[in-house]
């Protein structure tokens, strides 16, 4: 009985994974396809990978993308978490106002956010990496708040207050007591901010400076004359390295847990 339940659970996981990864598998296949057309198999090749290494433009875009996405997500996490802590002790009304403001970037059509931020920069600042970073942080913070807020509400107030009673400062108590409790929410928020920023095209397009490209703006510009299969190769490499890192972390934590259990 238990086994059937376990088995059907496993089967379901596999099914969802299949749905999520089938399109990616196709991209991987395309990266080895010796034909620029997607639906025609022109034989196996590695030359998209070979070209990729020498394509300064793509490498530069990749560098910009990673730098932008990681720093935007990090800043968003810090801003968002601090905001949550602040909001948790705020008056109800003020908090409601702030939360509604937070929703705005999520619920505006991307083009509206993009154009609005562009107009702001047009009047007060100039476009460059900085403007892209600001836009991406703004996109990411709401996702951090939406993930951290519920965790913070559930974080046991008792332990925190006990820590204060025992003479810990608020900051110390926060780092020692609250932070570990809300940490999963922070991680989730980081992942969301990272994901949203990685995926964004419209906002990036309108806020980027001349001559700077991210992977997504580069891809969209290739649309007119067909996606360069080097991009499939890049995605494949990216995907494989992420999965490898993940696998390693998983193995590592598994070894750690089993060791701990042995002790």
């Amino acid at each position: 009985m238990v086994n059937i339940k376990k088995l059907s659970g496993r089967l379901y996981i596999v099914l969802i994974l299949l749905i999520l990864y089938a399109p990616l598998a196709i991209l991987i296949i395309c990266s080895f396809n010796n034909s620029k057309a997607r639906n025609i198999w022109g034989g196996f090749t590695l030359h998209w990978y070979a070209d990729l290494v020498h394509n300064q433009e793509v490498l530069e875009a990749l560098r910009t993308s990673l730098l932008l996405t990681v720093s935007a997500a990090l800043i968003a996490v810090v801003l968002g978490t601090l905001a949550c802590v602040g909001m948790s002790v705020m008056g109800k009304k003020l908090r409601a106002v702030l939360i509604n403001i937070t929703n705005i970037p999520m619920l505006n059509a991307d083009i509206v956010t993009g154009v609005a931020i562009m107009l702001l920069f047009a009047h007060f600042l100039t476009l460059g990496f900085g403007s892209m970073l600001i836009a991406h942080v703004t996109l990411g913070v709401p996702y951090v708040i939406i993930n951290v807020m519920p965790r913070l509400r559930d974080a046991s107030k008792g332990v925190y207050e006990a820590a204060l009673d025992l003479g810990a400062s608020q900051t110390y108590a926060f780092f020692k007591v609250v932070l570990p409790e809300i940490f999963p929410g922070i991680i989730a928020g980081f992942l969301f901010a990272f994901t949203v920023s990685m995926d964004d095209f419209v906002v990036t397009y309108f806020t980027k400076g001349p001559g700077i490209n991210t992977i997504s703006t580069m891809l969209y510009q290739q649309l007119r004359r067909g996606i360069n299969p080097q991009m499939y190769a890049l995605s494949t490499l990216f995907l494989i390295s992420i999965l490898l890192i993940l696998g390693m972390v998983y193995r590592f934590s598994e070894i750690n847990t089993s060791k701990r259990e042995d002790n």
């Binding site: 057309a37 025609i40 970073l133 600001i134 025992l166 900051t171 001349p210 290739q222 649309l223």
Partner: protein
Amino acid sequence: MRQTSVAARQTGKVNMILPLIILAVCSGIIFLSGCHGRDGEADGRQDLIVFNYGDYIDRETIEMFEKETGIHVRYEEYLTPEDMYTKYSSGVIDYDLICSSDYMIQKMMLEGHLLPLDQSRMTSYGNIDPRYLELCRAFDPENKYAVPYLWGTLGILYNNKMVTDQVDSWEILWNPRYKNQIIMQNSMRDAFLVPLKWKGCSVNTRNKRELKEAQKLLMDQKPLVEAYLVDEIRDAMIAGDAAMAVTYSGDATEAMDANEDLSYVVPKEGSNVWFDCWAVPDCCRHKKEAEQFIDFMNRKETAEMNFDYIYYGTPNKAVYEDLDEETRSDETIFPPEEILSQCEVYEYLGTETDRYYTRLWKELKAK
């Protein structure tokens, strides 16, 4: 326990400092983004900001230009002329040189956003076939603002294995036999061109009755249409997802290279001939260098490199005369005179007709 409270007292200060640090970092970002220098020219280097369609130039030609002149090019790309216009009109970046399509060039010209070019400074201007300059007068009456870069037509790309009838008229796009086999252009002017030309109207008509009738024909056609696409047409046709598609000659050439069952035709009623041109917008800060760039791209060697890279029609006489017979007689890239004479260049129709067009287009899509 005592240790803890000492640590706590120390971190107590952090309590206030932490948000302050964050604030400082954030304002640092803003400050840096503001101070980036408008063109990054603090070091006295010349930066030419060029704005072109995506993947629409052989990058090597830019490097050659930089090496020869010492001018640094900041090359920027866009997806559609409308994207370009939105970004240009926001005024966030001072573009020195743009490359865009005929009607957009005309719109910017009529709005006073373009600077007249000094052709005397362009030594290779003579390479451009006067025939094309003549055609360009439809949107630039004195050839003062635009220098043609590449050109092409709009026509029907079809699959010989799936289409049994002869394809020579726009009418076939209303043949119920091809229900769910027809791909239309998902751009307003190109979609309206089809019924307008079929019924013998000008593509530049401002006559609301004619436009309304064209819309009605498109409405009738909608149940037969598989999809309205732009950039995906090429791949869909290569894959054999549809029997025919309204598309540009450039896309058609690339599709036909990949799938030999495909053919391209410009219907007998005529069509649109489009030009993508270089032009200098009014926000330009390096006009001389921009003209140098245009001139460089008109040279035979560079124009040839770009033609080989993009494979759209080149207005460059020197390049054309040097092509092999097979390429020259490729009617997709270089349609014969009798077809070309049937083709019109798009003109900018003014705000009012533009709005009317958009309205009709939205109605069609909402149906």
